[in-house]
């Protein structure tokens, strides 16, 4: 039972990480209709800048802020030079252009920081573990990620539901042309949303630094799962992104933890381990397929789509 609770926390933590990426991706896709494969590159930029600032200043807080800011800046630059030209093009053009950006960012990062991965230590005030349940210590840093992730989710909810900007975002997700026709400067709105998404991705990358490898290509692995999240949650919806992210995080973690054991009931241990591992890595995609059959537009889609 304790183990199950710990695994649930692990799933939650993985889920909020995914949410930080999915929130931006879903807004950009929902409002501008842009498939941004380079979203993972912004996550990578955040992680690398965070690692560098930690190395020079020793302050983790400053580094996380710098990582998010750098990703936002990179987002602003690619939005105003490249993405802006892609909003009215087809999805294939967007995929091609943003895939090119992935290659560009990977090589650029390799030229600046070199091919070897970087190391970010957990700051001392977040290291160690707390005894949430007797005999089961849980790393403080992972708890901190859960808290920060849920706080960001709350802030995003407030932004989208309670502010004027949020109203425009919701309206944009529902009907882009109508918002433009009503006299809203969509160029500014789109740029703002893109930068916001980029900053969240950069924040995710910065927070991931101490747990994951800060290396070239780190964004691609997590990007695939992020797309699964927004498809499961419903494109263009922040609530959907949160629900989808937590669902994918928990299902993936529990699947890895328990599928091999469950399969031992029906087959011998060796093949249970093999099949279980294979099945566990497919589980989130099976979840996605099931959700799409049941609700083709995702669990909590934005209105009007």
């Amino acid at each position: 039972m304790l183990l199950f609770l710990e695994q649930l926390l692990n799933g939650l933590q993985f889920g909020v990480m995914l949410f930080l990426l999915a929130a931006g991706l879903t807004l950009i896709f929902g409002i501008m209709g842009l498939i941004n494969l380079a979203h993972g590159s912004l996550y990578m930029v955040g992680a690398f800048v965070c690692a560098t600032v930690v190395a020079y200043t020793g302050s983790f807080l400053l580094a996380v802020v710098a990582g998010a800011a750098a990703a936002g800046l990179a987002g602003l630059v690619i939005e105003s030079t490249i993405m802006r030209r892609l909003y009215d093009r087809g999805h294939l053009d967007q995929v091609l252009a943003t895939f090119g950006l992935i290659l560009f960012f990977n090589e650029a990062v390799r030229m600046i920081w070199g091919p070897r991965p970087l190391n970010v230590d957990i700051p001392t005030w977040l290291s160690g573990s707390v005894e949430l349940f007797p005999g089961g210590g849980y790393p403080v840093y992972r708890l901190a990620i859960i808290v920060i992730g849920l706080a960001i989710a709350l802030a995003m909810w407030w932004l989208v539901q309670r502010t004027r900007l949020g109203m425009l975002i919701r309206a944009g997700a529902a009907d882009r042309e109508m918002v433009a026709a009503l006299g809203v400067d969509t160029r500014v709105l789109f740029a703002g949303v893109f930068v916001l998404g980029a900053m969240l991705a950069g924040l995710g990358g910065a927070l991931a630094g101490p747990i994951f490898t800060v290396g070239v290509g780190m964004g691609e692995n997590i990007l695939i799962l992020t797309f699964v999240v927004i498809v499961v949650g419903g494109i263009g919806s922040i609530r959907g992104a949160l629900v989808g992210a937590l669902l994918v995080g928990v299902v993936d973690t529990l699947g890895r933890a328990y599928l091999p054991t469950l399969l031992r009931w029906v087959t011998d241990p060796a093949s249970a381990d093999g099949i279980g591992a294979g099945l566990a890595s497919m589980l989130v995609y099976i979840l996605m397929a099931a959700v799409l059959i049941w609700r083709p537009r995702g669990l909590l889609p934005a209105h009007g789509h």
Binding site: L3, E6, Q7, N10, G11, Q13, F14, M17, N106, E107, R110, P115, R116, P117, L118, N119, D121, I122, S127, G128, S129, G137, P139, Y141, R142, P210, I211, F212, T213, V214, G215, V216, G217, M218, N221, I222, T253, L254, R256, A257, P260, A270, D273, G274, G276, A277, G278, A280, S281
Partner: protein, 390 residues
């Protein structure tokens, strides 16, 4: 049949034209390795180790050489095409550089079909050690299973009999666990097959801690290993459950990224920076002076590959027109390896000592490996029996 005659004549003429006159044309060496994208740290190290031996005067064993370096970006078709191009356009017949087994399996047969010589500085798939062994293929590093086997033996020797195993769910991962189990006699507390490229191991770590094993053996190459090591440390398991793995999980790039999380881990390797022999001392010092970083296992393999080739080129006096003679000279392995004693088995894979190392803090910051013992003296791979060569 007659139609083939002019073609054969043209080929023969070309071959004659391509045959270098000793001392006139430099010997061309094709180095196809991974220099960009994921895993490029390995290719860069192999290249730098090789080029250190080539030196600024571009010679190997006193013979002028020209090294053509090509990036395969860890892509099978790019690797194969680069080899094809070098064979046809540049008349290259000596190849090296390949890092990954899947790339070697796709590329090496082309080279061998063109009667070329291939010296593997890293990849050592079972096929080439056993049923598909070939007089033109030499492995200068190890057969893939060797370093895992060493850990199986050592964990046994240490008296552990309840070990947890972790490896990714792909061919090399399964081979690693097979290699470990070939020599390990005790109980297996559990086995986790993680997915390739997995970043988060929180779930696996909780499962392992719950199983309460005496030790953990893991093989997670590249970034996966860094993630695992750091999360293992963060979960507070480094002090309670000792970690064992192959040297691949503790190379210089990984140690740099993992920081103190890797400290104390035990790993099997055919080389260590503190191996006490003249060739190695010279290598470590020269590498550090030239590239301003610590040499890795891969760099030592690149260096040894170049020095092996140097010994063979010197023996045939730079004349590579007689491939038979060149292969025979390579087979002699008449060079000072940085590993100490080194010779080829009948399948042209190394017979060598496999050592045990521990990760320790290095002088001047960072971490490095130091020798703590030996797993196998004069180890041979398990596939030599399937090889028809004698």
């Amino acid at each position: 049949m007659n139609n083939h005659k002019p073609f054969a004549a043209v080929l023969a003429a070309l071959a004659l034209a391509a045959a270098p006159v000793a001392g006139a044309e430099p010997v061309r060496i094709g180095m196809i390795t991974t220099l960009s994208g994921g895993g490029s740290a390995l290719g860069v190290d192999v290249r730098d180790g090789f080029m250190l031996a080539v030196g600024d005067d571009d010679t190997l064993g006193g013979v002028p050489v020209e090294v053509l370096i090509e990036d395969d970006a860890r892509d099978t078709s790019r690797s194969r095409e680069a080899a094809q191009r070098m064979i046809q356009r540049e008349q290259v017949s000596i190849f090296t550089g390949t890092i990954w087994s899947n790339l070697a399996l796709a590329t090496v047969p082309r080279i061998l079909a063109a009667d070329g010589l291939f010296l593997s500085p890293n990849a050592g798939p079972a096929e080439f050690a056993g049923s598909d062994c070939h007089p033109g293929y030499f492995n200068v590093a190890w057969q893939n299973d060797n370093l895992h086997e060493a850990m199986g033996q050592y964990v046994n020797d240490e008296g552990y009999d309840n070990v947890y195993l972790v490896a990714p769910n792909y061919p090399a991962g399964r081979d690693a666990l097979e290699g470990f189990k070939r020599y390990y006699q005790g109980d297996i507390a559990g086995e986790l097959n993680t997915s390739l490229g997995q970043q988060d191991y929180a779930s696996e770590l909780a499962t392992i801690r719950n199983a309460d094993p005496e030790a953990v053996f893991f093989f997670l190459p590249g970034g996966m290993g860094v993630n695992f090591l750091r999360q293992y440390d963060q979960a507070g398991m480094r002090d309670s459950i000792p970690l064992y793995g192959p040297a691949f999980s503790f190379d210089e790039a990984i140690l740099e990224a993992a920081g103190s999380a890797a400290e104390g881990a035990i790993n099997g390797a055919q080389w260590s920076p503190d191996l006490d022999n003249a060739a190695n001392r010279e290598f470590v010092e020269a590498f550090q002076a030239k590239y301003d970083r610590r040499p890795s296992l891969y760099a030592s393999q690149g260096y040894d590959t170049a020095r092996l080739l140097a010994s063979a080129l010197a023996a045939v006096d730079g004349d590579i027109s007689d491939m038979q003679a060149l292969r025979a000279a390579v087979r002699e392995a008449d060079f000072e390896s940085v590993r100490g004693d080194f010779r080829f088995n009948t399948n042209q894979h190394p017979i060598q000592d496999i050592h045990v190392r521990r990760v320790v803090p290095a002088e001047g910051g960072g971490h490095t490996n130091e020798l703590v013992g030996m797993a196998f003296p004069e180890h041979r791979d398990a596939y030599v029996g399937d090889c028809a060569m004698e």
